[in-house]
C-alpha cells in the first residue's frame, strides 16, 4: 500500500470498491485499501450532514438492529443517526446484563432476532469476541460497536478520519496514545489501524496498564509521558476507569493525573499544530485537564461529528455499496 492512497481526495485503487467481509468485527480484518475506502466514502457521507434535508435513500428497505448489551449513549446514538440518515429501518435493543442472567444466551437472542430477517446487527457487548460468535451463527452482517477489551473498529475509523481531515495524511505521523491501554478496545483498534496506515504509534501509561507483549504490534511503549508526546502530531487520550484503583493498577486518581494527566504544559511538548483527541466519555482532571479538553487543540467534538459520517460509510459499504443501490 502506498502512502498516496491515504491522501484525501485520492481514490482507493479501483478494485477496492467494497469490503471483502460480510461483517466488520475489527480493524485487524481490514486491508489498508479497505480502510481508505471507508474513509473516502465517509467524506461523501459527511457532506450529507450539511444539507437541509439530511437523508438519502441508500439503505431504504434495510433493517438494522442496534443490539446493545452495555450502556452506551454516544455510540448507540451515532449509529442510530447514521442509520436514519441512510433511510434504514432501525430497532434499538438495550439489554441489561441482568435480564441475560435470567436465562437467554447471547446465541439464542441473536437467533431470535435473525428469525425476523434483519439485514444488519450492530452489537455492543462486554465480552471480547461476542461479535465473532454472532458472525458464526447469523446471516446478517454484524457490525462490532465495541466488544469487551477487544476492538471498537468504528471508533478507530472515525479517529483516522479526523486525523486525516486535520493533517492531510496518516502515514508518518507520530501518534501518542495515553491512558488505560490494557482494558481499552479503542486502543487495540487504533493500533491495528495506525500501523496498517504507516503512522508511528506510541503508547503511554503506567506499566500495570500496558498490555503484555504489546511491542509485537509494532508500537513503542513508554511510561514517560513526556517521551510519548515529544514532537507528536496527535495526542489521543483514553479513559481511566474509576474502578481501576481497586485492581491496584495505580494508587489514586490524583497521582495518575500528576504523572500522566494531559496538561497544557505537556501538550506544549508536542508539535505546535498537534491535535488532542479523546473517544469519550472524558474524566476531566484525570486523564485530561479541562483546559486541554476545551482548548484550541482539542478536536473531541469533531470526532463525535465525524463518527456519524464514518458509521454511515460502514453501513453503506456492508450493505453492498453502489451495487446495492443499483439493485434497489
Amino acid at each position: 500500500m502506498t502512502p498516496a492512497s491515504t491522501t484525501p481526495g485520492v481514490a482507493a485503487p479501483p478494485e477496492t470498491t467494497t469490503l471483502r467481509g460480510k461483517d466488520l468485527l475489527g480493524i485487524a480484518d481490514l486491508s489498508p485499501a479497505e480502510i481508505s475506502l471507508v474513509l473516502d466514502t465517509a467524506e461523501a457521507m459527511k457532506e450529507i450532514a450539511s444539507r437541509p434535508i439530511k437523508k438519502v435513500p441508500a439503505l431504504r428497505g434495510k433493517t438494522v438492529v442496534n443490539l446493545f448489551f452495555e450502556p452506551s449513549t454516544r455510540t448507540r446514538t451515532s449509529f442510530e443517526i447514521a442509520e436514519k440518515r441512510l433511510s434504514a429501518d432501525t430497532l434499538n435493543l438495550a439489554i441489561a446484563s441482568s435480564s441475560v442472567a435470567k436465562g437467554e444466551t447471547l446465541a439464542d437472542t441473536a437467533l431470535t432476532l435473525e428469525a425476523m430477517r434483519p439485514d444488519m446487527i450492530v452489537l455492543r457487548h462486554s465480552s471480547s469476541g461476542a461479535g465473532h460468535l454472532l458472525s458464526r451463527i447469523c446471516r446478517s452482517a454484524i457490525i462490532n460497536a465495541g466488544d469487551g477489551m477487544h476492538e471498537h473498529p468504528t471508533q478507530a475509523l472515525l479517529d483516522a478520519f479526523t486525523i486525516r481531515e486535520r493533517k492531510g495524511r496518516i502515514a508518518g505521523l507520530k501518534v501518542a496514545i495515553v491512558g488505560d491501554l490494557l482494558h481499552s478496545r479503542v486502543l487495540r483498534s487504533n493500533l491495528h489501524l495506525l500501523t496498517k496506515l504507516g503512522a508511528e504509534a506510541w503508547i503511554c501509561g503506567p506499566p500495570t496498564l500496558i498490555p503484555p507483549d504489546v511491542a509485537r504490534f509494532g508500537v513503542r511503549a513508554t511510561s514517560r509521558v513526556e517521551e510519548a508526546v515529544d514532537g507528536a502530531d496527535v495526542i489521543m487520550l483514553l479513559r481511566i476507569q474509576l474502578e481501576r484503583m481497586q485492581g491496584a493498577y495505580f494508587p489514586s486518581l490524583r497521582e495518575y493525573f500528576n504523572v500522566f494527566g494531559m496538561t497544557r504544559a505537556r501538550v506544549r511538548l508536542a508539535k505546535p499544530d498537534a491535535i488532542v483527541m479523546h473517544p469519550g466519555p472524558m474524566n476531566r482532571g484525570v486523564e485530561i485537564a479541562s483546559e486541554v479538553a476545551d482548548g484550541p487543540d482539542s478536536v473531541i467534538l469533531e470526532q463525535v461529528a465525524n463518527g456519524v459520517a464514518v458509521r454511515m460509510a460502514v453501513l453503506y459499504l456492508l450493505a453492498g455499496g453502489a451495487e446495492h443501490e443499483e439493485a434497489a
Binding site: S127, S128, G129, H132, H150, P211, F217
Partner: protein
C-alpha cells in the same frame, strides 16, 4: 477363556521387553509372554507385525462428571470413551456434585464403574471437605472406599498450611496429593494465557507465574514433609524448572502434561476459529516457548506422565461468549493419536517412552495395578497401531460431550484394541481388527 495375541511387537518397559513376541492371556491374567507361543485352544488374535502390544494405558486425570453432571458425561460414557482411546484405566477427579469428599460418593463411583464394565476407574478423593480448602476430608474413609490419591482439582489446595497437613496425613496411606497449581490472585478472572494473543484479542490473561508460584510452594512442602506431591496438568516453562530443581534435590515431586499443552499454543485463540471456546481450558494454552518446554520435558524425563484432563462440557455451555464458557476440553479419544503424531513420529520420544508416560509411570505414581505385562499381572493390555491414519471425528466419539479442538485433524497413529481384565472391550475396525474377535 484363553486368548493369544499373536504376531505383534511387545513393548513392556517395566520388564525391559521389546520384540516380536506373543502374549497369552488366561481369563483375566497375563499367562505368558514369549516367541511363538502354542495356540493350545486359545482364541487367536492375529496382529500385524507393526502393531504394538503394551501394558494398558492409564489416564491419571479425567473428569467423569458423575454424580451430578450427567448431561456432560457419565461414568458409563466416560469409560467407554476411555477404552476407545486405548485406556484400560482412568483416575477421576473429585469435583463432581456432590464433591467426592466422603466414602458414600466414592462407593457410588466404584459401583457405577463396575456396572459400566468398561475401563477401570480409580477415584481421586478431595483433599478438603467440599474442596473448600478449610478442613481435611475424611481421608482414611476415602482410602478404604477406594480412592488412590487426593486432589481439590479445579482449584488449588488453598493454603500452604492445608497443603502441608494433607501431604503429611495422606503419606500415612501412601497417597500422593495432586495439586491444581494456580495462585488465585494472579489468575484473577483471567481466561487465556497472558501474552501477545490475549493482548490482541482483549482477553484477560493468566500468567505462567500463577502456576509456577504454587508449584514452587508445593515443592517446598514436599521437601518439608517428605511426602509425594504431583503437579496436575502442567503448562508453564517456569513450573517445569521448579519440578526439575525439586527432582534434582531428591524431593518427591512428579508431574503430568496434557496432550493439548504439548500440541497447541495460544495462537489457537485467534485461528482457525477466533475465540473458539474449545480452546479455552485451565491452565490455558500457553505460548510456543512453554509448549516447547513441555515437549522437552517429555523427552528428557522431567515429565512423568501424559494425562488428558478430559473435561467434557455440553455444547450449550460452550456455545457462549468466550468469557462465559467453562474451562476444559475432552481428551480421552485423541490422546494416543496426538502422542504418536506429535511426539513419537515427531522424533521427540521413543515408543518405549510413550508407554512409560501413558502406563508405567501413572501406575507407579498412583500405586495401582498395571503398567506391566508380567506373568500373573491383570490382563489390561492396549494394542497400538503406530501407522494408522486417524481422522478425528468429534461426532463419532463415545464421550457424551464433543468439546474438542481437534475435530477433523488427521493424525498418524491410533488404537487397534483395548483389553481390560482379559475382555477385549474395543477393537478398531479401521485397524483391521474385527469387533467379532471380542
Amino acid at each position: 477363556m484363553k486368548r493369544l495375541l499373536k504376531g505383534g511387537r511387545v513393548v513392556d518397559p517395566a520388564a525391559g521387553i521389546d520384540g516380536q513376541l506373543d502374549v497369552l492371556i488366561d481369563d483375566d491374567r497375563i499367562a505368558a509372554v514369549g516367541r511363538g507361543l502354542p495356540v493350545d485352544g486359545a482364541v487367536v488374535v492375529e496382529l500385524r507385525p507393526d502393531f504394538v502390544v503394551c501394558p494398558g494405558l492409564i489416564d491419571m486425570h479425567v473428569h467423569l462428571r458423575e454424580p451430578g453432571q450427567e448431561h456432560k458425561e457419565t461414568i458409563a460414557t466416560g469409560t467407554a470413551a476411555a477404552v476407545a482411546g486405548g485406556f484400560t484405566a482412568v483416575a477421576c477427579m473429585p469435583n463432581t456434585d456432590p464433591i467426592n469428599d466422603n466414602a458414600n460418593v466414592t462407593a457410588y463411583i466404584v459401583s457405577k464403574a463396575r456396572e459400566a464394565g468398561q475401563a477401570r476407574v480409580y477415584p481421586i478423593g478431595a483433599v478438603s471437605r467440599g474442596s473448600r480448602g478449610e478442613l481435611l476430608a475424611d481421608i482414611a474413609e476415602l482410602r478404604q472406599a477406594g480412592c488412590v490419591a487426593l486432589s481439590d482439582d479445579g482449584r488449588p489446595v488453598a493454603t500452604a498450611l492445608l497443603m502441608r497437613r494433607a501431604l503429611e496425613y495422606a503419606a500415612m496411606f501412601g497417597m500422593p496429593v495432586i495439586d491444581h497449581c494456580e495462585d488465585p490472585s494472579l489468575k484473577g478472572d483471567g481466561v487465556a494465557h497472558e501474552g501477545f494473543q490475549a493482548s490482541t484479542l482483549g482477553l484477560r490473561g493468566i500468567p505462567g507465574a500463577a502456576e509456577a508460584i504454587m508449584v514452587e510452594r508445593d515443592v517446598q512442602l514436599a521437601e518439608l514433609t517428605g511426602a509425594a506431591f504431583h503437579v496436575a496438568h502442567m503448562s508453564a516453562r517456569s513450573s517445569l524448572r521448579a519440578v526439575a530443581k525439586g527432582k534434582d534435590a531428591g524431593i518427591r515431586v512428579t508431574c503430568e502434561v496434557a496432550p493439548h499443552h504439548f500440541t497447541l499454543t495460544d495462537e489457537a485463540l485467534a485461528a482457525p476459529v477466533p475465540y473458539d471456546t474449545n480452546v479455552k481450558m485451565n491452565p490455558p494454552l500457553r505460548e510456543s516457548v512453554d509448549r516447547d518446554a513441555m515437549v522437552a520435558g517429555l523427552a528428557d524425563g522431567t515429565v512423568d506422565a501424559i494425562a488428558t484432563d478430559h473435561a467434557p462440557h455440553h455444547y450449550d455451555e460452550k456455545q457462549v461468549e468466550f468469557d462465559n464458557a467453562p474451562f476444559g476440553i475432552t481428551g480421552l479419544e485423541t490422546a494416543v493419536s496426538l502422542t504418536f503424531d506429535r511426539l513419537v513420529h515427531g522424533g521427540v520420544i521413543t515408543l518405549r517412552r510413550m508407554i512409560e508416560l501413558l502406563s508405567v509411570n501413572p501406575a507407579r505414581i498412583l500405586s495401582v495395578p498395571g503398567g506391566t505385562l508380567a506373568v500373573g499381572a491383570p490382563a489390561d493390555v492396549t494394542i497400538l497401531a503406530p501407522d494408522l491414519r486417524v481422522r478425528v471425528a468429534a461426532a463419532a466419539m463415545r464421550s457424551r460431550s464433543k468439546n474438542t479442538p481437534f475435530d477433523g485433524w488427521e493424525l498418524r497413529g491410533g488404537v487397534a484394541a483395548t483389553i481390560v481384565g482379559g475382555r477385549m472391550l474395543f477393537a478398531n475396525e479401521a485397524a483391521g481388527l474385527a469387533a467379532a474377535t471380542a
